[in-house]
Structure formats: C-alpha cells, structure tokens
C-alpha cells in the first residue's frame, strides 16, 4: 500500500510540474508570438510566472522535502498548481472558460492520487465558486449552476475513482503478499526436504517420480533433476536379501497403492546407480485425495547396512557364546554323572540327592543354551536346512518311539493313532514339505511338554488329513491351559505363571521355536484345552501331492549335485595331507601307503533300518 502511494505521489508531482511548466511555456509563447491572444496580459503573465515557480519548486525544494515528507510536499505542489490553473481559467473567461473541462478532468484525476488531493482540488474549486458568488452578488451563480453541479459530480466521481483505485491497490498488494507467502512456503518445503536425512520419493499411480529429495539422491546415486519424471523402478532398484527379484505384486509401492495401507519393509536391498548394494529400511504410504481415491505413494527410506551389520555381529556373538558354553556344560554333566555312578565313585545318600538335583539343573542349562542358539539361528534364517518331502506317518512313528522311554518313566502311556477309516488297515501316506529333523524336534517338543504337564493318564499322537492339509495332534490328559495363557503360549519367553507348574521348568522358548518352524514350513500351530481337562496341540501343514513331492526331490537333488562335487574335492585334500604325516608316528603295523590310494567314493547309502538316533 505504501509503495503504491509513494509511486502515486511521485507521479503526481511530475505531472503537476509538467502541467505547470507547459502552461508557462504556452503563455510565454503566446505572448511572444501573438500578444493579442491573451485577454488579460497581466494575469496571464502572472500565471506563467507562477507556473515557472512551480517547476522551480519541483526541481529544488520538492526533491529535498520528498525525502521525509513527500505527501506534504506534493500537497503544496498540488495547491500551487491548482491556483495556477484557476488563474488560467479566470484569465480565459472564468466559469465560461473552455479550459474548465480540463479542470474537471483534473478533479477526477486527483481522485487517483488520493483523497487528500481530491479534497484539495475540490476545495479550491468550491472556494472559487464561493468567491465568484460573493463578488458578483449571486448573479453569476444562477447561470453557472450547471457547472457547479458538474463540478460536484466530478468531485464525487473523483472520490469513487479514488476508492476503486485504493481497492485495486489493496487487491494487488494482497496478491503480492500471498504470492510472497507461497514462495516462502515453497522455499521452506524445499529446505525441509533438503534437510531430511531420509530419502523421500513421491510417485504417482503411473509410477513416475514426482518428488525426489536430496537424501534420496545421495542414497541412490541419482541426480535429483534427472530422477524426477522417470519410472521409480529405474531409480530405486530393489531386490530381496537373497538376490531374488521382487515379484511384481510384492513391490512395496504397488502394495501400498493397491491396498491403501502403509507398507514397511526392512529386508530389502537396493542397488545404487554406481552398482553398490545397500540394505534399506523402507516405508511406503499411499497418498489419497479428499475423496479417498489413491493418487500415488510417498516412500521414506534410509540405509540400515550398519545397523544390520551390528545386529549380525550380536547374533554371531550369541551364537558363538552359546556354542562355547556347551563344552563346560558337557563336562559338568559328565563329572556329576560319574560321581553318581556307584561303579566309579562312592557317595552317601545326601550327596546323591544333591548331585541328582545338580545333574537336572545342568541339563536344564544345556537346554537353555540349545534353545538360545536355535532362536539366534531362527532369526538369522539359518534354522532349517533342506526342505524335502517328509513322510509324516513315519516321522511320528519315530518320534513316538523315541519318547516312549520318557513317558514310561512317569508311568504315562504314549500312543500313536494313524488315520485310517474304519476297516481299512492301510492309511494313506502324507507328505509335507519340511526339514525332517526340525519337524521331528517340534513333535518331540510337544510330546515332551505333554509329558511334563501330565501327572497321570497318557498322551495320544494322531495324524489326519485330506487332500490339502495334514494335521498332527498331540493330546494329553494333563493339567490343561488357562484361557488367558492361550494367546501368549507361542510367544518368546512366555512361561505359564502358575505355582503348580513353575517347578516344571522350561525355557519359554520351546513353543516359540515350534511356531517359528511350523510357520517356516507354511503351516499353523494352535492349542485347544481347558484347565483340568488336558490340552491338545495341533499342527496343520500343507500336504504335498505325489507330483509335488517328486518335484521337490528333483530340485533338491540338482542343487545338491552342484555343491557335492565341490565338497568331494575339498575332502580328498585333507585326507591326503593327513596320510602324508602319519609315517612320522611310530611305525604302524601296516604299511601306510595303501591308504593314500583310494579316493573316497561317495555312494548314497541305502536307507539303514535304524536311522533314528537319539
């Protein structure tokens, strides 16, 4: 507003100066060329001189005063020029002057420059009228009532013009300030985006990048300007940790957009522009407009390679430590066992009692380390080896067989029920895709738990299935499980907090591991039961058809063959090296050299009958 006003005043000043100057020049010219044109020479010359004076004022004093008091100085100018104009009008016929129209224009024009100017000009005009009226005793006024009316109308018009221009100026200023604010916000956003440590990428539904911040550029190695507008798949090359390409549907951006939900992944690896691989923590949120329609997605990501490395180090440490601890544990167990053995040592009853307890405890400690190691492996994804078709019936037979001894110790029965329709002797063979060793451990863990929590009666292991799934159940007649424990049962470290069962022991990791394993095999595990009425644990696994089982074997075999060749070669070497050193030991009975000859043949052994080792 202020700037506009100042500009207006400057302009006004210049116009006034020029106007006055022009008047002076014209009058002088007329005087010089044709004095007869001037009706009242004296007045005209006075007018011209005033005009010159105005110009003189404009050039000198006005400039000086304008620095601090432009408005006031311009007002002075206005008044002087107004007087000058009045003189022109008087000298050219007063109210009948042809230049009166010009004067009216001036009044209207004054409106543009401000209320003050309008008032000044109007005021002077009315003063003039008043003067003329008084001087001529009211006679002239009647004749010039029209001019008076028009003058007042002009004044009103001027004021209207003034108001309009002020509003326009206000609107322009508002627009300018809004525009200024917008630029400010834009700048703020840019600064914000630029300072965020995480990479930010915004894409639309056609996969084009709309926004790509500085951190995104640094992480991906792509230039900010280049990246905007191109398909994000080119810039953000993602794949899973084991080098597999992301299946089109499981791409986090697609997932976020199609499901309209936040997708978080910390298992992806990105390949930078330069070819480096970085592990990312990525979260993608869908962007929806006001009607809920998804218009794109915004992704935040950061490099977690270092965090992952630290995690790995921790896991390795836990793994190594657990492993290391098992040696002393084995030694302690062994020594205690020896002490308790009558053939080796002689002890009294009390010592036997205490050593028995110590023996149980050290076994418990061993289990703890074992579970800890398993959990670490589970988290590293190394828990299971090969997935192969497993004959569930046979596996259960083996597990039940091995656990008979433990059940018998508590006088509990342990039976296996294979599904067979009434009358049929042979039950179908159920194959599932799993690691047979791990699945066996799971089943044995469940049986072991049942034995632990059952005082009398027995445990029944049963197998059932249909075309799609195979179900293993372990039912016992034990203490049962309280309803509030059921949802937590398969969680890490959860132990049933019940005085009756506290003494039973356990690490709280068993069922967690069971669940992890079962889920790794794409199955489900759950429990049913009531306190006092026993519990039944169920495992459901997807059933493999004959064809699928064969395929699994084929795939596994080819992978095995590829690695077996390398393994065989490696094994021959140490054998040869070892043999070469044997002669240094006191002469063996048999000549050493024959041992060097044969390359150990790797023949797949026929299945031994008793492969169920404890």
């Amino acid at each position: 507003m202020v700037d506009q006003q100042q500009r207006n005043l400057i302009l006004l000043g210049r116009i006034l100066a020029v106007a006055s100057g022009t008047v002076a020049v014209v009058i002088f010219a007329m005087y010089g060329l044709r004095p007869s044109l001037l009706s009242d020479t004296g007045l005209s010359l006075a007018t011209a001189l005033l005009g010159l004076a105005v110009v003189g004022y404009f050039i000198s004093l006005h400039q000086l005063l304008s620095k601090k008091w432009r408005a006031g100085s311009t007002m002075i100018l206005t008044v002087l020029v107004a007087i000058n104009f009045i003189l022109v009008i008087i000298s050219t016929g007063g109210l009948d002057s042809p230049y009166y129209a010009l004067w009216l224009l001036a009044i209207v024009g004054a409106g543009v420059f401000g209320a003050n100017e309008t008032l000044a000009v109007l005021g002077i005009t009315l003063a003039y009228f008043a003067g003329a009226f008084i001087l001529s005793n009211g006679r002239n006024l009647g004749d010039h009532s029209v001019e008076l009316f028009i003058t007042l109308a002009a004044g009103a018009l001027a004021e209207w013009v003034h108001r309009r221009s002020r509003r326009a100026a206000a609107a322009t200023t508002k627009l300018a300030s809004l525009s200024g604010k917008l630029s400010e916000e834009q700048l703020k956003a840019q600064v914000l985006m630029g300072s965020i440590g995480e990479g930010v990428i915004v894409v639309d539904v056609s996969n084009k990048i709309g926004l790509f911040n500085k951190a995104a550029g640094l992480l991906t190695g792509w230039d900010q300007d280049t990246a905007v507008g191109i398909d994000y798949n080119l810039v953000l090359q993602l794949h899973t940790a084991d080098e597999h390409e992301l299946i089109a549907g499981s791409d986090p951006f697609t997932a976020a957009i199609t499901t309209n939900q936040l997708v978080v992944r910390d298992d992806l690896v990105m390949t930078t522009h330069a070819g480096r691989k970085i592990q990312l923590s990525l979260s993608v949120s869908p962007i929806a407009d006001s009607s809920g329609h998804v218009t794109g997605a915004i992704a935040l990501f950061r490099d977690i390679s270092r965090e992952k490395a630290v995690e790995r180090q921790k896991e390795e440490f836990v793994s190594t430590a657990s492993h290391e601890m098992r040696t002393p544990v084995a030694a302690i167990e062994g020594y205690i066992s020896l002490a308790m053995n009558a053939n080796v040592a002689t002890i009294d009853d009390r010592a036997m009692k205490y050593l028995t307890k110590a023996h149980e405890t050290i076994q418990h400690l061993g289990e703890l380390f074992r579970d800890l190691l398993s959990v670490t492996k589970a988290e590293e994804g190394k828990l299971i080896g090969k997935i192969e078709p497993v004959d569930v019936g046979k596996l259960l037979e083996g597990a039940v067989g091995d656990m008979q001894f433990v059940a018998a110790k508590k006088n509990l029965t342990l039976v296996l029920q294979l599904a067979s329709s009434a009358g049929k002797q042979i039950s179908p063979i159920y194959y599932v895709g799993a690691s047979s060793e791990r699945l066996r451990e799971v089943v044995m863990n469940l049986i072991d738990n049942s034995i632990k929590f059952t005082a009398e009666g027995g445990i029944t292991v049963s197998l059932a299935g249909d075309n799609k799934a195979v179900e293993i159940s372990v039912a016992d007649t034990g203490v049962g499980i309280a309803k509030e424990d059921i949802p937590h049962l398969f969680q890490k470290f959860y132990r049933i907090d019940n005085s009756a069962t506290r003494t039973i022991g356990g690490t709280g990791l068993g069922l967690y591991l069971c669940r992890t394993l079962v889920e790794l095999f794409n199955g489900r595990i759950w429990v049913e039961g009531e306190p006092g009425k026993g519990s039944t644990f169920h495992i459901s696994l997807p059933r493999l058809s004959e064809a699928e089982a064969k395929e699994l074997v084929r795939v596994a075999a080819s992978a095995e063959a590829a690695s077996a060749d390398g393994e065989a070669a490696a094994r021959v070497m140490p054998a040869a090296a070892a043999v070469a050193q044997v002669p240094t030991v006191p002469p063996p009975v048999v000549p050493v050299t024959p041992i060097a000859m044969p390359v150990p043949e790797l023949q797949p052994e026929a299945h031994k009958t008793d492969r169920r080792l404890s």
Partner: protein, 124 residues
C-alpha cells in the same frame, strides 16, 4: 573285554568318558586328535570308536573317511559325537558310514554309554 577308543580333544571329556567306560569294564584307549586317532586305531584295532567331530587339524569326518577307507578299520563301530546339529552334518556322517551320530547338547553321559552298549551288543 571290549576295547573302546575315545577320540576327544577336550581334556575334561576325555577323563569323564574314560572313567565311565572303565566302570563298564571296557578297555579304554584315548587319542586327543585325528592323526593320533588314525595311527592308534590301526595299531590297537578297537571294537568301537567314540569320535568327536570338532577337533583341530583334521575333523572327525575326515578321520571317519579315512577309517572307512582303511581295510583294518573299515568295519569298526563308530559313534560320532558332535555339537553340530545340522541335518547336513548328520547326513554327511551317515554317508561316510557312521554307526551312530549323537549330538552332544542333546545327550547325557548315560545316553552315550547306552549307545556304546547298544553298538557293542550288536556285535556279540
């Protein structure tokens, strides 16, 4: 009486197993690494070898390999003791001709003795 050879690098475990086997009236011979084991096995011809897997210089697998390739020890009963619980390792042992594969953290001393008895009983 049965002759049992124990191949184990840990001193404590060697003492424990020796004492325990002696209590069963077995004649016990020990070796603390693979090389010693091979030489001793060929010389002493034990009825059964309890073989630790994780040993310095050469592993139990390699020892087994060589034992099975040596005519004198080809038929000797071998029980492998290991801390490794991976399927692949068990299979490796079995493909090399082990008689029993025991995972240290899952068995007690008595379990080992039972396994030995079982294997020796199988001969008689």
């Amino acid at each position: 009486m049965a002759k049992v050879m124990l191949v184990e690098d840990d001193t404590n475990l060697r003492e424990i197993y020796s004492a325990r086997f002696a209590a069963e009236n077995y004649q016990v011979i020990t070796a603390s690494d693979g090389e010693e084991a091979l030489a001793t096995a060929v010389r002493e011809r034990p009825d059964l070898i309890v073989l630790d897997v994780m040993m310095p210089k050469i592993s139990g697998f390699d020892v087994l390999d060589i034992l099975r390739s040596t005519p004198e020890t080809k038929e000797t009963k071998v029980i492998m003791m290991t801390a490794l619980s991976q399927d692949t390792d068990r299979q490796r042992g079995e493909s090399l001709g082990v008689n029993k594969y025991l995972i240290k953290s899952q068995v007690t001393l008595e379990d080992v003795v039972n396994a030995v008895k079982q294997e020796l009983g199988a001969i008689a």
